[in-house]
Symmetry: C2
Amino acid sequence: MALGSDPGITLDELRLAARNHAMPLEALRWAITPVGLHYLLIHYDVPLVDPRTWRLEIGGAVERRMTLSLDELRARPRVELAATMECAGNGRALLEPRPVSQPWLTEAVGTARWAGVALAPLLEEAGVGADAVDVVFVGLDRGVEGDVEQSYERSLPVGEALESGAVLAYEMNGVSLPPQHGFPLRLVVPGWYGMTNVKWLSEITVTTEPFTGYQVTSGYRVRKSEDEDGRPVTRMRPRSLMAPPGMPDFYSRDRIVDPGRLVLEGRAWSGRAPVARVEVSTDGGSTWADAEITRELEGPWAWCGWTFSWDASQAGEHVLCSRATDETGDTQPLEPEWNLGGYENNAVQRVPVVVR
Amino acid sequence: MALGSDPGITLDELRLAARNHAMPLEALRWAITPVGLHYLLIHYDVPLVDPRTWRLEIGGAVERRMTLSLDELRARPRVELAATMECAGNGRALLEPRPVSQPWLTEAVGTARWAGVALAPLLEEAGVGADAVDVVFVGLDRGVEGDVEQSYERSLPVGEALESGAVLAYEMNGVSLPPQHGFPLRLVVPGWYGMTNVKWLSEITVTTEPFTGYQVTSGYRVRKSEDEDGRPVTRMRPRSLMAPPGMPDFYSRDRIVDPGRLVLEGRAWSGRAPVARVEVSTDGGSTWADAEITRELEGPWAWCGWTFSWDASQAGEHVLCSRATDETGDTQPLEPEWNLGGYENNAVQRVPVVVR
């Protein structure tokens, strides 16, 4: 199957696809995604960090600069947070024309139980001034992007930094942060797309002017052309995914299902409000019926589960879909809205299955 | 950069590339690959296994059938094994014309410390008859491949099963086997390409006739055409990889290096004999000099490290290469030899870097 009228994925895109990885969709069966199955996007290289010499520096427009070792961070009150994290570029390779970058299909997502220290009390201890605008998070990974040499850095508005429930995580799913997920420390801002959650965190800087770094002003903006300023990518839009039923064909990933009643299952999330409704269509999106929602994980920022009983008695091809609606009333669209960077494509997933 | 004269990677190939993942080459800096960075290829779906009801059945041409629970296996003598594992299709996407399957570039490899029970004493306890030919390993993952519905299964000649040092592993790097690496039990045959190491192992069957399953007679054979019987893929050919120096461009992965002397580093392995020699070329393969070899891991089946001091004083583009030779005298070729399935491409890696 070709990519529409597209000439196909290039070697540059393939290099990114070989390095970074999505979550195989059958892993939707786990409420907490096992380490190694959670999606992963690394802009530059995984840095090799010596935890004995590593320090977190908190500075800029604060009353007291702070320097913290990993042991000092671990000695502070420990918080846990179950959070679903999705790449802002998830679904990019399904857009036409395809924005060239990491060519994600539908599954750049995962849910982890992060543990670490809460961000807000640390910032309060440092003393954030009344004139503070942004909080900038700097990682140790360094490279060139859009001809700009840079360390990976992203900012949060100061209000979000203080009130979003953000965590500086040193553990993932009960083990020390794996190198590829940001060892020894990363930011986790629940509800935001993945690019926010700076890995290999080394500096936090409070600014009194809006931050204008590459990943905020050039990358991660929703816009139709380079001329447009656009708007920043922030919180995750509602989305639902299905664990494909039956068994796959190795190469095409087509699904083969035995006839009979079966339970479709999946997960749904939104970074803007809890999921209020999940619907399923077994006819490619023509008609919809409510799925049953189960909430296994605490808090509003981890996905919920859903199940739907399907009478797969009719042989032949069927296209299964699910769509989530969150408590703000925002619903997944049937067709994506194109933008230059290929961000926020939360169009309904289509799962073709053949009942034999 | 395009893939030669190729029309580009298709959606089918991209689906595989999004699910499966290689080892980002900077992870060569770790002797033992952290969980989640080790390469991963899954033919069908990751099965969800309940360890309480799971059993390993040993049968076929044995004197005593055996049924073992995970607790019973864990109660047996524990062995550890450091082993490098490479996908037989590593390098496939660099062949022209490109065999269509999982489109690996150069980095489908990893090294783990496996722990479990030795295979040979189990087979001896079951009593392998003098007429035994093959030992068949059956996994719980099921799907369709080449129009054949199948559980993933592979065989070993009985001599290899008894004498290769194979382990039935329930741990990887000191933790319980992750689901995607075969929980609760997988086969690890040191020195063999990855397809041998059946995950989610459920049955071991001794046969008195050669095994003719799909993954031995259709898949994983080196041949130029469908008409040819070819030869089976078995042990890994010698190979060396370099951790790319300097820093990357996000999209192109081109490397930028500051001028001055720097230490190039990487790993080398062979599944046929220990690595005897690693050479480095800084001029695209025209001239070669010996690298220094370091052996951090015990045993002959885990990669060795290598380092090479490079005087990167000349600005401009350089193509760096390394090549391994094992104790049988087998050396990596500069150009790959094409075959239908795209197996065993151990051609020398080329790493373009720009000294600025």
